[in-house]
Symmetry: C2
Subunit: 332 residues, 2 copies
Protein backbone atom coordinates (compact mmCIF):
# COMPACT_ATOMS: atom_id res chain seq x y z
CA UNK A 1 0.00 0.00 0.00
CA UNK A 2 2.74 2.43 0.92
CA UNK A 3 4.39 1.77 -2.41
CA UNK A 4 1.25 2.71 -4.27
CA UNK A 5 0.69 6.02 -2.57
CA UNK A 6 4.11 7.56 -2.06
CA UNK A 7 4.25 11.32 -1.55
CA UNK A 8 4.31 13.14 -4.87
CA UNK A 9 6.94 15.82 -4.56
CA UNK A 10 5.23 18.15 -7.00
CA UNK A 11 1.76 17.78 -5.59
CA UNK A 12 3.04 18.23 -2.06
CA UNK A 13 4.02 21.82 -2.86
CA UNK A 14 0.40 22.77 -3.51
CA UNK A 15 -0.91 24.32 -0.33
CA UNK A 16 -4.31 24.74 1.19
CA UNK A 17 -3.97 28.47 0.37
CA UNK A 18 -3.60 27.61 -3.34
CA UNK A 19 -6.79 25.58 -3.17
CA UNK A 20 -8.59 28.40 -1.35
CA UNK A 21 -7.47 30.97 -3.92
CA UNK A 22 -8.59 28.92 -6.90
CA UNK A 23 -11.93 28.09 -5.27
CA UNK A 24 -12.46 31.68 -4.14
CA UNK A 25 -12.94 30.72 -0.49
CA UNK A 26 -10.98 31.07 2.74
CA UNK A 27 -8.49 28.40 3.81
CA UNK A 28 -10.84 27.60 6.69
CA UNK A 29 -13.59 26.74 4.21
CA UNK A 30 -11.18 24.39 2.44
CA UNK A 31 -10.65 22.63 5.76
CA UNK A 32 -14.38 22.53 6.52
CA UNK A 33 -15.07 21.01 3.13
CA UNK A 34 -12.38 18.35 3.39
CA UNK A 35 -12.86 17.35 6.98
CA UNK A 36 -16.57 17.98 7.43
CA UNK A 37 -16.18 19.86 10.72
CA UNK A 38 -18.62 22.54 9.52
CA UNK A 39 -21.37 22.50 6.93
CA UNK A 40 -20.63 24.30 3.66
CA UNK A 41 -23.04 24.76 0.78
CA UNK A 42 -23.06 22.21 -2.03
CA UNK A 43 -21.91 24.84 -4.51
CA UNK A 44 -18.93 25.78 -2.32
CA UNK A 45 -18.07 22.15 -1.73
CA UNK A 46 -18.09 21.54 -5.50
CA UNK A 47 -15.76 24.49 -6.11
CA UNK A 48 -13.31 23.36 -3.43
CA UNK A 49 -13.24 19.78 -4.67
CA UNK A 50 -12.72 20.97 -8.24
CA UNK A 51 -9.74 23.03 -7.05
CA UNK A 52 -8.34 20.09 -5.06
CA UNK A 53 -8.52 17.87 -8.13
CA UNK A 54 -7.24 20.48 -10.58
CA UNK A 55 -4.24 21.41 -8.45
CA UNK A 56 -3.52 17.89 -7.25
CA UNK A 57 -3.66 19.01 -3.64
CA UNK A 58 -2.57 16.09 -1.43
CA UNK A 59 -2.33 17.13 2.21
CA UNK A 60 -2.12 13.46 3.08
CA UNK A 61 0.87 12.84 0.85
CA UNK A 62 2.57 16.04 1.91
CA UNK A 63 2.16 15.25 5.54
CA UNK A 64 3.41 11.73 5.07
CA UNK A 65 6.90 13.04 4.36
CA UNK A 66 6.97 14.25 7.95
CA UNK A 67 5.87 10.97 9.46
CA UNK A 68 7.96 9.63 12.26
CA UNK A 69 6.91 6.08 11.64
CA UNK A 70 7.45 4.10 8.50
CA UNK A 71 4.51 1.80 9.14
CA UNK A 72 1.38 2.41 7.15
CA UNK A 73 -1.81 2.78 9.09
CA UNK A 74 -5.46 1.86 8.81
CA UNK A 75 -8.33 3.75 10.37
CA UNK A 76 -11.44 2.06 11.72
CA UNK A 77 -14.70 3.88 12.42
CA UNK A 78 -17.11 2.17 14.80
CA UNK A 79 -20.43 3.42 16.20
CA UNK A 80 -18.96 3.12 19.69
CA UNK A 81 -16.98 0.66 21.74
CA UNK A 82 -19.62 -0.27 24.29
CA UNK A 83 -21.32 -2.75 21.99
CA UNK A 84 -19.30 -5.89 22.42
CA UNK A 85 -19.67 -6.89 18.78
CA UNK A 86 -17.67 -3.83 17.74
CA UNK A 87 -15.04 -4.60 20.35
CA UNK A 88 -14.69 -8.05 18.77
CA UNK A 89 -14.53 -6.43 15.34
CA UNK A 90 -11.85 -3.97 16.46
CA UNK A 91 -9.78 -6.80 17.89
CA UNK A 92 -10.10 -8.74 14.64
CA UNK A 93 -9.13 -5.75 12.48
CA UNK A 94 -6.12 -5.15 14.71
CA UNK A 95 -4.95 -8.75 14.23
CA UNK A 96 -5.37 -8.71 10.45
CA UNK A 97 -3.80 -5.24 10.12
CA UNK A 98 -0.80 -6.40 12.16
CA UNK A 99 -0.38 -9.42 9.88
CA UNK A 100 -0.08 -6.91 7.01
CA UNK A 101 2.39 -4.80 8.97
CA UNK A 102 -0.19 -2.05 9.45
CA UNK A 103 -0.95 -0.04 12.55
CA UNK A 104 -4.56 0.69 13.48
CA UNK A 105 -6.28 3.82 14.76
CA UNK A 106 -9.84 3.54 15.97
CA UNK A 107 -12.30 6.37 16.25
CA UNK A 108 -16.03 6.47 16.76
CA UNK A 109 -18.77 8.12 14.77
CA UNK A 110 -20.62 9.34 17.81
CA UNK A 111 -19.84 12.96 16.91
CA UNK A 112 -20.77 12.51 13.27
CA UNK A 113 -19.45 10.46 10.41
CA UNK A 114 -18.08 13.47 8.50
CA UNK A 115 -16.03 14.47 11.52
CA UNK A 116 -14.71 10.93 12.07
CA UNK A 117 -13.67 10.60 8.43
CA UNK A 118 -12.11 14.05 8.46
CA UNK A 119 -9.97 13.22 11.47
CA UNK A 120 -8.66 10.02 9.96
CA UNK A 121 -7.98 11.70 6.62
CA UNK A 122 -6.19 14.55 8.35
CA UNK A 123 -3.98 12.08 10.20
CA UNK A 124 -2.77 10.49 6.99
CA UNK A 125 -4.28 7.05 7.30
CA UNK A 126 -3.69 4.79 4.33
CA UNK A 127 -7.10 3.18 4.29
CA UNK A 128 -10.37 3.31 6.24
CA UNK A 129 -12.78 0.62 7.37
CA UNK A 130 -16.25 1.89 8.21
CA UNK A 131 -18.28 -0.36 10.48
CA UNK A 132 -21.26 1.87 11.02
CA UNK A 133 -24.02 3.55 9.09
CA UNK A 134 -22.63 5.91 6.46
CA UNK A 135 -23.91 7.83 3.44
CA UNK A 136 -22.04 8.04 0.15
CA UNK A 137 -21.62 11.81 0.58
CA UNK A 138 -19.69 11.25 3.82
CA UNK A 139 -17.01 9.43 1.83
CA UNK A 140 -16.18 12.36 -0.47
CA UNK A 141 -13.08 13.53 1.44
CA UNK A 142 -11.59 10.02 1.24
CA UNK A 143 -12.27 9.73 -2.49
CA UNK A 144 -10.81 13.19 -3.06
CA UNK A 145 -7.62 12.32 -1.21
CA UNK A 146 -7.35 8.92 -2.82
CA UNK A 147 -7.71 7.05 0.47
CA UNK A 148 -9.41 3.70 -0.10
CA UNK A 149 -12.40 2.78 2.07
CA UNK A 150 -14.43 -0.36 2.73
CA UNK A 151 -17.88 -0.26 4.30
CA UNK A 152 -18.82 -3.22 6.50
CA UNK A 153 -22.38 -2.50 7.50
CA UNK A 154 -24.31 -1.67 4.35
CA UNK A 155 -24.19 -1.55 0.57
CA UNK A 156 -23.56 1.78 -1.21
CA UNK A 157 -23.36 2.16 -4.99
CA UNK A 158 -19.78 2.39 -6.17
CA UNK A 159 -18.33 1.85 -2.69
CA UNK A 160 -16.40 -1.26 -1.67
CA UNK A 161 -18.43 -3.24 0.83
CA UNK A 162 -18.29 -6.50 2.75
CA UNK A 163 -21.36 -7.60 4.69
CA UNK A 164 -22.84 -10.51 6.58
CA UNK A 165 -26.13 -11.79 5.19
CA UNK A 166 -28.43 -10.63 7.95
CA UNK A 167 -31.60 -11.93 6.32
CA UNK A 168 -30.15 -15.42 5.95
CA UNK A 169 -28.75 -15.41 9.48
CA UNK A 170 -31.99 -14.30 11.09
CA UNK A 171 -34.03 -16.71 8.98
CA UNK A 172 -31.91 -19.72 10.04
CA UNK A 173 -32.12 -18.66 13.70
CA UNK A 174 -35.91 -18.23 13.62
CA UNK A 175 -36.32 -21.53 11.76
CA UNK A 176 -34.24 -23.20 14.45
CA UNK A 177 -36.65 -21.94 17.12
CA UNK A 178 -39.58 -23.21 15.00
CA UNK A 179 -37.80 -26.58 14.64
CA UNK A 180 -37.83 -26.79 18.45
CA UNK A 181 -41.64 -26.79 18.13
CA UNK A 182 -42.37 -23.20 19.12
CA UNK A 183 -45.55 -21.78 17.56
CA UNK A 184 -45.30 -18.29 18.98
CA UNK A 185 -41.90 -16.72 18.33
CA UNK A 186 -41.42 -13.06 19.25
CA UNK A 187 -39.06 -10.57 17.61
CA UNK A 188 -36.97 -7.97 19.46
CA UNK A 189 -35.23 -5.39 17.30
CA UNK A 190 -35.75 -2.45 14.98
CA UNK A 191 -39.03 -2.17 13.08
CA UNK A 192 -37.27 -2.51 9.72
CA UNK A 193 -34.48 -4.34 7.95
CA UNK A 194 -33.49 -7.82 6.89
CA UNK A 195 -33.64 -9.49 10.27
CA UNK A 196 -37.24 -8.41 10.88
CA UNK A 197 -38.23 -9.46 7.35
CA UNK A 198 -36.62 -12.87 7.84
CA UNK A 199 -38.66 -13.38 11.03
CA UNK A 200 -41.86 -12.43 9.19
CA UNK A 201 -41.06 -14.74 6.26
CA UNK A 202 -40.01 -17.70 8.43
CA UNK A 203 -43.16 -17.37 10.56
CA UNK A 204 -45.34 -17.07 7.47
CA UNK A 205 -43.71 -20.08 5.82
CA UNK A 206 -44.57 -22.09 8.96
CA UNK A 207 -48.20 -20.91 8.76
CA UNK A 208 -47.83 -18.72 11.83
CA UNK A 209 -48.59 -15.07 12.54
CA UNK A 210 -45.39 -13.08 13.06
CA UNK A 211 -46.06 -11.74 16.55
CA UNK A 212 -45.44 -10.24 18.99
CA UNK A 213 -42.83 -7.72 17.92
CA UNK A 214 -41.13 -5.57 20.58
CA UNK A 215 -39.25 -2.65 19.07
CA UNK A 216 -35.78 -2.08 20.54
CA UNK A 217 -32.61 -0.24 19.59
CA UNK A 218 -29.28 -2.08 19.51
CA UNK A 219 -28.43 -1.67 23.19
CA UNK A 220 -28.53 -3.81 26.31
CA UNK A 221 -30.86 -1.26 27.87
CA UNK A 222 -33.26 -1.59 24.93
CA UNK A 223 -33.08 -5.37 25.21
CA UNK A 224 -33.75 -5.18 28.94
CA UNK A 225 -36.92 -3.14 28.39
CA UNK A 226 -38.04 -5.53 25.65
CA UNK A 227 -37.37 -8.55 27.86
CA UNK A 228 -39.41 -7.01 30.69
CA UNK A 229 -42.28 -6.41 28.24
CA UNK A 230 -42.11 -10.02 27.03
CA UNK A 231 -42.04 -11.38 30.59
CA UNK A 232 -45.14 -9.38 31.48
CA UNK A 233 -47.11 -10.11 28.28
CA UNK A 234 -50.50 -11.75 29.01
CA UNK A 235 -50.08 -14.26 26.16
CA UNK A 236 -46.34 -14.81 26.61
CA UNK A 237 -44.45 -16.19 23.60
CA UNK A 238 -42.44 -19.38 24.19
CA UNK A 239 -39.50 -18.20 22.09
CA UNK A 240 -37.87 -14.98 20.96
CA UNK A 241 -35.42 -14.01 18.24
CA UNK A 242 -33.38 -10.97 19.29
CA UNK A 243 -31.62 -9.04 16.53
CA UNK A 244 -28.27 -8.66 18.33
CA UNK A 245 -26.34 -10.37 21.14
CA UNK A 246 -26.08 -7.02 22.90
CA UNK A 247 -29.86 -6.72 23.12
CA UNK A 248 -30.14 -10.41 24.02
CA UNK A 249 -27.94 -9.85 27.12
CA UNK A 250 -30.51 -7.28 28.25
CA UNK A 251 -33.42 -9.60 27.45
CA UNK A 252 -31.80 -12.38 29.54
CA UNK A 253 -31.36 -10.09 32.56
CA UNK A 254 -35.02 -8.99 32.43
CA UNK A 255 -36.22 -12.59 32.12
CA UNK A 256 -33.99 -13.73 35.03
CA UNK A 257 -35.28 -10.91 37.22
CA UNK A 258 -38.88 -11.82 36.38
CA UNK A 259 -38.22 -15.47 37.25
CA UNK A 260 -38.87 -16.55 33.65
CA UNK A 261 -36.60 -19.52 32.90
CA UNK A 262 -34.46 -19.67 29.75
CA UNK A 263 -34.88 -21.86 27.72
CA UNK A 264 -37.64 -23.68 29.64
CA UNK A 265 -40.19 -20.83 29.67
CA UNK A 266 -38.78 -18.77 26.79
CA UNK A 267 -36.19 -19.99 24.32
CA UNK A 268 -33.83 -17.31 23.00
CA UNK A 269 -31.80 -17.01 19.81
CA UNK A 270 -29.90 -13.95 18.63
CA UNK A 271 -27.55 -12.51 16.02
CA UNK A 272 -23.86 -11.47 15.87
CA UNK A 273 -21.84 -14.22 17.51
CA UNK A 274 -19.92 -11.86 19.78
CA UNK A 275 -17.56 -13.43 22.32
CA UNK A 276 -20.02 -12.18 24.90
CA UNK A 277 -22.65 -14.61 23.60
CA UNK A 278 -20.53 -17.50 24.90
CA UNK A 279 -20.13 -15.99 28.39
CA UNK A 280 -23.63 -14.90 29.34
CA UNK A 281 -26.12 -17.17 31.11
CA UNK A 282 -27.39 -19.26 29.53
CA UNK A 283 -24.91 -19.09 26.64
CA UNK A 284 -26.69 -17.81 23.53
CA UNK A 285 -27.61 -19.68 20.38
CA UNK A 286 -26.71 -17.03 17.81
CA UNK A 287 -26.25 -16.46 14.08
CA UNK A 288 -22.55 -15.58 14.00
CA UNK A 289 -21.26 -13.03 11.52
CA UNK A 290 -18.12 -14.37 9.79
CA UNK A 291 -15.98 -11.62 11.29
CA UNK A 292 -12.58 -13.12 10.49
CA UNK A 293 -13.43 -13.57 6.79
CA UNK A 294 -15.14 -10.16 6.53
CA UNK A 295 -12.15 -8.37 7.99
CA UNK A 296 -9.61 -10.34 5.95
CA UNK A 297 -11.41 -9.51 2.68
CA UNK A 298 -11.83 -5.85 3.65
CA UNK A 299 -8.19 -5.33 4.66
CA UNK A 300 -6.93 -7.18 1.58
CA UNK A 301 -8.94 -4.73 -0.51
CA UNK A 302 -7.52 -1.70 1.32
CA UNK A 303 -4.00 -2.98 0.82
CA UNK A 304 -4.60 -3.51 -2.92
CA UNK A 305 -7.56 -1.27 -3.81
CA UNK A 306 -6.72 -1.41 -7.51
CA UNK A 307 -8.06 -4.94 -7.71
CA UNK A 308 -11.51 -3.74 -8.79
CA UNK A 309 -14.91 -3.18 -7.20
CA UNK A 310 -15.80 -5.13 -4.09
CA UNK A 311 -19.34 -6.16 -3.13
CA UNK A 312 -19.34 -9.25 -0.94
CA UNK A 313 -22.13 -10.70 1.17
CA UNK A 314 -21.13 -13.63 3.37
CA UNK A 315 -23.39 -16.16 5.10
CA UNK A 316 -23.60 -16.36 8.89
CA UNK A 317 -23.21 -19.58 10.86
CA UNK A 318 -25.68 -20.63 13.55
CA UNK A 319 -23.81 -21.40 16.77
CA UNK A 320 -26.06 -23.67 18.83
CA UNK A 321 -25.77 -23.33 22.61
CA UNK A 322 -28.24 -23.75 25.47
CA UNK A 323 -30.46 -20.63 25.22
CA UNK A 324 -32.59 -22.25 22.48
CA UNK A 325 -33.06 -25.50 24.39
CA UNK A 326 -30.50 -27.60 22.52
CA UNK A 327 -28.02 -28.09 25.35
CA UNK A 328 -29.72 -28.51 28.73
CA UNK A 329 -28.63 -25.77 31.15
CA UNK A 330 -27.21 -27.37 34.29
CA UNK A 331 -28.61 -24.81 36.68
CA UNK A 332 -32.14 -24.62 35.21
Amino acid sequence: MTQQREPQRGAARVTRADVAKRAGVSTAVVSYTLNGTKKVSEATQARVLEAVRALGYRPNAAARALKLGSMAQLGLIVPGVLNRFFADLTDQVEQVAAAHGLALMVTSARHGMASAIGHLAARQVDGVLIATDVEAADLTPLATLGIPAVVLEKRLDGVACVRADRYQGARVAVEHLLWHGHRRVAFVGPNEGGRRQAWIDASSAAGLAAEPMVTSDFTREGGYRAGAALAAAPDRPTAVFVSSDEQAIGVLLALHEAGVRVPDDIAVASFDGSQESAYCWPPLTTAAQPLAAMVRIAVDHLVAPGSGPLDVKLPTELIVRSSCGCAPSTAA
Copy 2:
Protein backbone atom coordinates in the same frame (compact mmCIF):
# COMPACT_ATOMS: atom_id res chain seq x y z
CA MET B 1 -4.03 23.21 24.48
CA THR B 2 -3.62 24.20 20.84
CA GLN B 3 -2.75 27.70 21.92
CA GLN B 4 0.05 26.43 24.10
CA ARG B 5 1.69 24.32 21.42
CA GLU B 6 1.37 26.27 18.19
CA PRO B 7 3.73 25.36 15.37
CA GLN B 8 7.02 27.24 15.72
CA ARG B 9 7.83 28.52 12.26
CA GLY B 10 11.58 28.44 12.87
CA ALA B 11 11.67 25.05 14.47
CA ALA B 12 9.45 23.57 11.78
CA ARG B 13 12.19 24.14 9.22
CA VAL B 14 14.48 21.70 11.00
CA THR B 15 14.19 18.39 9.20
CA ARG B 16 14.74 14.82 10.18
CA ALA B 17 17.81 14.91 7.92
CA ASP B 18 19.28 17.74 10.04
CA VAL B 19 18.78 15.63 13.15
CA ALA B 20 20.35 12.61 11.46
CA LYS B 21 23.37 14.63 10.33
CA ARG B 22 24.03 16.10 13.76
CA ALA B 23 23.59 12.72 15.47
CA GLY B 24 25.71 10.95 12.87
CA VAL B 25 23.01 8.41 12.03
CA SER B 26 20.67 7.70 9.13
CA THR B 27 17.24 9.35 8.94
CA ALA B 28 15.74 5.89 9.46
CA VAL B 29 17.52 5.61 12.80
CA VAL B 30 16.05 8.98 13.81
CA SER B 31 12.60 7.53 13.09
CA TYR B 32 13.35 4.30 14.94
CA THR B 33 14.50 6.25 17.98
CA LEU B 34 11.48 8.54 18.07
CA ASN B 35 8.78 6.04 17.30
CA GLY B 36 10.26 2.91 18.81
CA THR B 37 9.52 0.73 15.77
CA LYS B 38 13.02 -0.76 15.99
CA LYS B 39 15.48 -1.12 18.83
CA VAL B 40 18.47 1.21 18.78
CA SER B 41 21.37 1.20 21.24
CA GLU B 42 21.18 3.48 24.27
CA ALA B 43 24.17 5.46 23.05
CA THR B 44 22.54 6.07 19.66
CA GLN B 45 19.25 6.98 21.29
CA ALA B 46 21.05 9.51 23.49
CA ARG B 47 22.78 11.09 20.47
CA VAL B 48 19.52 11.37 18.53
CA LEU B 49 17.62 12.86 21.44
CA GLU B 50 20.44 15.36 22.06
CA ALA B 51 20.23 16.43 18.40
CA VAL B 52 16.42 16.69 18.58
CA ARG B 53 16.67 18.96 21.59
CA ALA B 54 19.61 21.02 20.33
CA LEU B 55 18.00 21.70 16.95
CA GLY B 56 14.48 22.10 18.28
CA TYR B 57 13.20 19.45 15.90
CA ARG B 58 9.39 19.36 16.16
CA PRO B 59 7.91 16.97 13.61
CA ASN B 60 4.66 17.22 15.50
CA ALA B 61 4.44 21.00 15.18
CA ALA B 62 5.61 20.99 11.58
CA ALA B 63 3.06 18.42 10.60
CA ARG B 64 0.30 20.26 12.38
CA ALA B 65 0.48 23.04 9.82
CA LEU B 66 -0.70 20.52 7.25
CA LYS B 67 -3.67 19.30 9.25
CA LEU B 68 -6.99 19.27 7.53
CA GLY B 69 -8.87 19.53 10.77
CA SER B 70 -8.64 22.32 13.26
CA MET B 71 -9.68 20.17 16.21
CA ALA B 72 -6.98 19.08 18.60
CA GLN B 73 -6.76 15.41 19.33
CA LEU B 74 -6.04 13.08 22.21
CA GLY B 75 -4.61 9.61 21.94
CA LEU B 76 -5.60 6.73 24.21
CA ILE B 77 -3.58 3.54 24.60
CA VAL B 78 -5.44 0.54 26.00
CA PRO B 79 -4.24 -3.05 26.47
CA GLY B 80 -7.01 -4.16 24.13
CA VAL B 81 -10.69 -3.56 23.58
CA LEU B 82 -11.98 -7.01 24.50
CA ASN B 83 -11.90 -6.30 28.22
CA ARG B 84 -15.14 -4.51 28.88
CA PHE B 85 -13.60 -2.24 31.49
CA PHE B 86 -11.39 -0.66 28.83
CA ALA B 87 -14.37 -0.27 26.52
CA ASP B 88 -16.10 1.65 29.32
CA LEU B 89 -12.94 3.70 29.82
CA THR B 90 -12.69 4.49 26.11
CA ASP B 91 -16.30 5.60 26.04
CA GLN B 92 -15.71 7.83 29.05
CA VAL B 93 -12.57 9.40 27.56
CA GLU B 94 -14.44 10.07 24.34
CA GLN B 95 -17.19 11.89 26.23
CA VAL B 96 -14.81 14.04 28.25
CA ALA B 97 -12.59 14.76 25.24
CA ALA B 98 -15.63 15.86 23.26
CA ALA B 99 -16.66 18.19 26.07
CA HIS B 100 -13.22 19.82 25.63
CA GLY B 101 -13.66 19.98 21.86
CA LEU B 102 -11.05 17.26 21.35
CA ALA B 103 -11.15 14.30 19.00
CA LEU B 104 -9.94 10.91 20.21
CA MET B 105 -7.82 8.24 18.57
CA VAL B 106 -7.54 4.88 20.26
CA THR B 107 -4.80 2.36 19.74
CA SER B 108 -3.78 -0.75 21.61
CA ALA B 109 -0.49 -1.76 23.10
CA ARG B 110 -0.75 -5.34 21.92
CA HIS B 111 2.19 -4.85 19.55
CA GLY B 112 4.30 -3.07 22.12
CA MET B 113 4.03 0.15 24.06
CA ALA B 114 6.90 1.85 22.21
CA SER B 115 5.19 1.22 18.90
CA ALA B 116 1.82 2.47 20.17
CA ILE B 117 3.35 5.66 21.53
CA GLY B 118 5.36 6.17 18.35
CA HIS B 119 2.27 5.94 16.18
CA LEU B 120 0.35 8.47 18.22
CA ALA B 121 3.31 10.85 18.33
CA ALA B 122 3.80 10.53 14.59
CA ARG B 123 0.14 11.40 14.02
CA GLN B 124 0.45 14.68 15.91
CA VAL B 125 -1.74 13.98 18.88
CA ASP B 126 -1.86 16.76 21.43
CA GLY B 127 -1.87 14.55 24.50
CA VAL B 128 -1.82 10.86 25.39
CA LEU B 129 -3.67 8.85 28.03
CA ILE B 130 -2.06 5.51 28.82
CA ALA B 131 -4.37 2.96 30.40
CA THR B 132 -2.04 0.01 30.43
CA ASP B 133 1.26 -1.08 31.90
CA VAL B 134 4.07 1.22 30.80
CA GLU B 135 7.69 1.90 31.75
CA ALA B 136 9.15 5.39 32.10
CA ALA B 137 11.54 4.72 29.19
CA ASP B 138 8.57 4.12 26.87
CA LEU B 139 7.50 7.71 27.43
CA THR B 140 10.72 9.29 26.13
CA PRO B 141 9.40 10.11 22.63
CA LEU B 142 6.46 11.98 24.15
CA ALA B 143 8.66 13.97 26.52
CA THR B 144 11.05 14.78 23.68
CA LEU B 145 8.25 16.07 21.47
CA GLY B 146 6.60 17.95 24.31
CA ILE B 147 3.42 15.89 24.15
CA PRO B 148 1.86 15.63 27.63
CA ALA B 149 0.92 12.17 28.94
CA VAL B 150 -1.09 10.83 31.85
CA VAL B 151 -0.79 7.24 33.06
CA LEU B 152 -3.95 5.67 34.49
CA GLU B 153 -2.81 2.25 35.65
CA LYS B 154 0.29 2.75 37.75
CA ARG B 155 2.57 5.27 39.42
CA LEU B 156 5.84 6.28 37.74
CA ASP B 157 8.28 8.80 39.19
CA GLY B 158 7.94 12.17 37.50
CA VAL B 159 5.00 11.07 35.34
CA ALA B 160 1.48 12.42 35.73
CA CYS B 161 -0.78 9.64 37.00
CA VAL B 162 -4.34 9.10 38.13
CA ARG B 163 -5.27 5.78 39.73
CA ALA B 164 -8.01 4.02 41.57
CA ASP B 165 -7.06 2.73 45.02
CA ARG B 166 -7.09 -0.98 44.30
CA TYR B 167 -6.04 -2.03 47.79
CA GLN B 168 -8.87 -0.05 49.39
CA GLY B 169 -11.41 -1.31 46.85
CA ALA B 170 -10.47 -4.96 47.27
CA ARG B 171 -10.32 -4.64 51.05
CA VAL B 172 -13.86 -3.20 51.24
CA ALA B 173 -15.18 -5.92 48.91
CA VAL B 174 -13.57 -8.76 50.91
CA GLU B 175 -14.76 -7.24 54.19
CA HIS B 176 -18.27 -7.12 52.74
CA LEU B 177 -18.12 -10.86 52.05
CA LEU B 178 -16.85 -11.41 55.62
CA TRP B 179 -19.70 -9.24 56.92
CA HIS B 180 -22.09 -11.69 55.26
CA GLY B 181 -20.64 -14.29 57.64
CA HIS B 182 -18.34 -16.14 55.26
CA ARG B 183 -15.34 -17.75 56.95
CA ARG B 184 -13.66 -19.15 53.86
CA VAL B 185 -13.25 -16.50 51.17
CA ALA B 186 -11.26 -17.44 48.07
CA PHE B 187 -9.23 -15.10 45.85
CA VAL B 188 -9.09 -15.25 42.05
CA GLY B 189 -6.49 -13.04 40.39
CA PRO B 190 -2.78 -12.49 39.90
CA ASN B 191 -0.38 -13.74 42.57
CA GLU B 192 0.76 -10.18 43.37
CA GLY B 193 -0.46 -6.65 43.77
CA GLY B 194 -2.71 -4.58 45.97
CA ARG B 195 -5.89 -6.55 45.50
CA ARG B 196 -4.27 -9.81 46.62
CA GLN B 197 -2.64 -8.06 49.60
CA ALA B 198 -5.97 -6.54 50.62
CA TRP B 199 -7.56 -10.02 50.61
CA ILE B 200 -4.72 -11.38 52.77
CA ASP B 201 -4.95 -8.45 55.21
CA ALA B 202 -8.75 -8.53 55.47
CA SER B 203 -8.74 -12.28 56.08
CA SER B 204 -5.98 -11.95 58.65
CA ALA B 205 -7.76 -9.11 60.47
CA ALA B 206 -10.80 -11.40 60.76
CA GLY B 207 -8.63 -14.18 62.23
CA LEU B 208 -8.93 -16.30 59.09
CA ALA B 209 -6.43 -18.01 56.83
CA ALA B 210 -6.33 -16.35 53.41
CA GLU B 211 -7.18 -19.37 51.27
CA PRO B 212 -7.72 -20.76 48.74
CA MET B 213 -6.08 -18.63 46.07
CA VAL B 214 -6.63 -19.49 42.40
CA THR B 215 -4.20 -17.69 40.11
CA SER B 216 -5.79 -16.19 37.00
CA ASP B 217 -4.92 -13.58 34.40
CA PHE B 218 -7.33 -10.71 33.67
CA THR B 219 -9.48 -12.54 31.14
CA ARG B 220 -12.86 -14.24 31.07
CA GLU B 221 -11.13 -17.44 30.03
CA GLY B 222 -8.84 -17.26 33.07
CA GLY B 223 -11.84 -16.59 35.29
CA TYR B 224 -13.69 -19.53 33.76
CA ARG B 225 -10.83 -21.91 34.57
CA ALA B 226 -10.59 -20.51 38.10
CA GLY B 227 -14.34 -20.89 38.60
CA ALA B 228 -14.20 -24.50 37.43
CA ALA B 229 -11.38 -25.15 39.91
CA LEU B 230 -13.37 -23.56 42.75
CA ALA B 231 -16.50 -25.56 41.87
CA ALA B 232 -14.53 -28.80 41.97
CA ALA B 233 -12.54 -28.03 45.13
CA PRO B 234 -13.06 -30.71 47.84
CA ASP B 235 -13.37 -28.09 50.59
CA ARG B 236 -15.26 -25.52 48.55
CA PRO B 237 -15.13 -21.91 49.79
CA THR B 238 -18.49 -20.20 50.40
CA ALA B 239 -17.36 -16.89 48.91
CA VAL B 240 -14.86 -15.56 46.41
CA PHE B 241 -13.34 -12.17 45.65
CA VAL B 242 -12.40 -11.92 41.97
CA SER B 243 -9.93 -9.21 41.00
CA SER B 244 -11.82 -7.95 37.92
CA ASP B 245 -15.36 -8.03 36.55
CA GLU B 246 -14.02 -9.60 33.38
CA GLN B 247 -12.69 -12.60 35.29
CA ALA B 248 -15.84 -12.71 37.42
CA ILE B 249 -17.97 -13.18 34.27
CA GLY B 250 -15.89 -16.30 33.56
CA VAL B 251 -16.18 -17.49 37.17
CA LEU B 252 -19.98 -17.13 37.01
CA LEU B 253 -20.23 -19.19 33.81
CA ALA B 254 -18.13 -22.01 35.31
CA LEU B 255 -20.21 -22.02 38.52
CA HIS B 256 -23.50 -22.05 36.52
CA GLU B 257 -22.29 -24.95 34.41
CA ALA B 258 -21.28 -26.91 37.51
CA GLY B 259 -24.70 -26.27 39.08
CA VAL B 260 -23.15 -24.23 41.90
CA ARG B 261 -25.66 -21.50 42.85
CA VAL B 262 -24.61 -17.84 43.21
CA PRO B 263 -24.89 -16.44 45.85
CA ASP B 264 -26.45 -19.38 47.73
CA ASP B 265 -23.54 -21.82 47.37
CA ILE B 266 -20.78 -19.31 46.59
CA ALA B 267 -21.08 -15.55 47.05
CA VAL B 268 -19.10 -13.46 44.56
CA ALA B 269 -17.67 -9.94 44.71
CA SER B 270 -15.35 -8.36 42.17
CA PHE B 271 -13.53 -5.21 41.12
CA ASP B 272 -13.89 -2.59 38.34
CA GLY B 273 -17.56 -1.63 38.15
CA SER B 274 -17.79 -2.12 34.39
CA GLN B 275 -21.21 -1.75 32.78
CA GLU B 276 -21.00 -5.48 32.18
CA SER B 277 -21.16 -6.12 35.93
CA ALA B 278 -24.75 -4.84 35.92
CA TYR B 279 -25.84 -7.09 33.04
CA CYS B 280 -24.43 -10.50 33.95
CA TRP B 281 -26.32 -13.06 36.03
CA PRO B 282 -26.53 -12.56 38.89
CA PRO B 283 -25.50 -8.90 38.69
CA LEU B 284 -22.14 -8.44 40.43
CA THR B 285 -21.34 -6.74 43.69
CA THR B 286 -18.19 -4.90 42.68
CA ALA B 287 -15.72 -2.25 43.84
CA ALA B 288 -16.23 0.37 41.14
CA GLN B 289 -13.33 2.45 39.92
CA PRO B 290 -14.32 6.15 39.77
CA LEU B 291 -13.89 6.23 36.00
CA ALA B 292 -15.65 9.52 35.37
CA ALA B 293 -13.54 11.37 37.93
CA MET B 294 -10.30 9.67 36.84
CA VAL B 295 -10.86 10.58 33.22
CA ARG B 296 -11.94 14.14 33.98
CA ILE B 297 -8.81 14.78 36.06
CA ALA B 298 -6.55 13.17 33.46
CA VAL B 299 -7.98 15.08 30.50
CA ASP B 300 -7.96 18.36 32.44
CA HIS B 301 -4.25 17.79 33.02
CA LEU B 302 -3.58 17.08 29.35
CA VAL B 303 -5.41 20.25 28.35
CA ALA B 304 -3.41 22.33 30.84
CA PRO B 305 -0.25 20.32 31.57
CA GLY B 306 1.53 23.36 32.95
CA SER B 307 -0.51 23.16 36.12
CA GLY B 308 2.16 21.12 37.90
CA PRO B 309 2.80 17.47 38.77
CA LEU B 310 -0.16 15.14 39.06
CA ASP B 311 -0.29 12.11 41.33
CA VAL B 312 -3.84 11.25 42.31
CA LYS B 313 -5.21 8.09 43.89
CA LEU B 314 -9.00 7.95 44.15
CA PRO B 315 -11.13 5.62 46.29
CA THR B 316 -13.44 3.06 44.72
CA GLU B 317 -17.11 2.66 45.64
CA LEU B 318 -18.67 -0.70 46.47
CA ILE B 319 -21.75 -1.28 44.31
CA VAL B 320 -23.89 -3.83 46.11
CA ARG B 321 -25.97 -6.14 43.91
CA SER B 322 -27.14 -9.73 44.25
CA SER B 323 -23.97 -11.80 43.67
CA CYS B 324 -22.85 -11.30 47.28
CA GLY B 325 -26.21 -12.27 48.75
CA CYS B 326 -27.51 -8.77 49.51
CA ALA B 327 -30.35 -8.64 46.99
CA PRO B 328 -32.13 -11.97 46.62
CA SER B 329 -31.88 -13.24 43.05
CA THR B 330 -35.37 -13.92 41.72
CA ALA B 331 -34.42 -16.97 39.73
CA ALA B 332 -32.31 -18.68 42.43
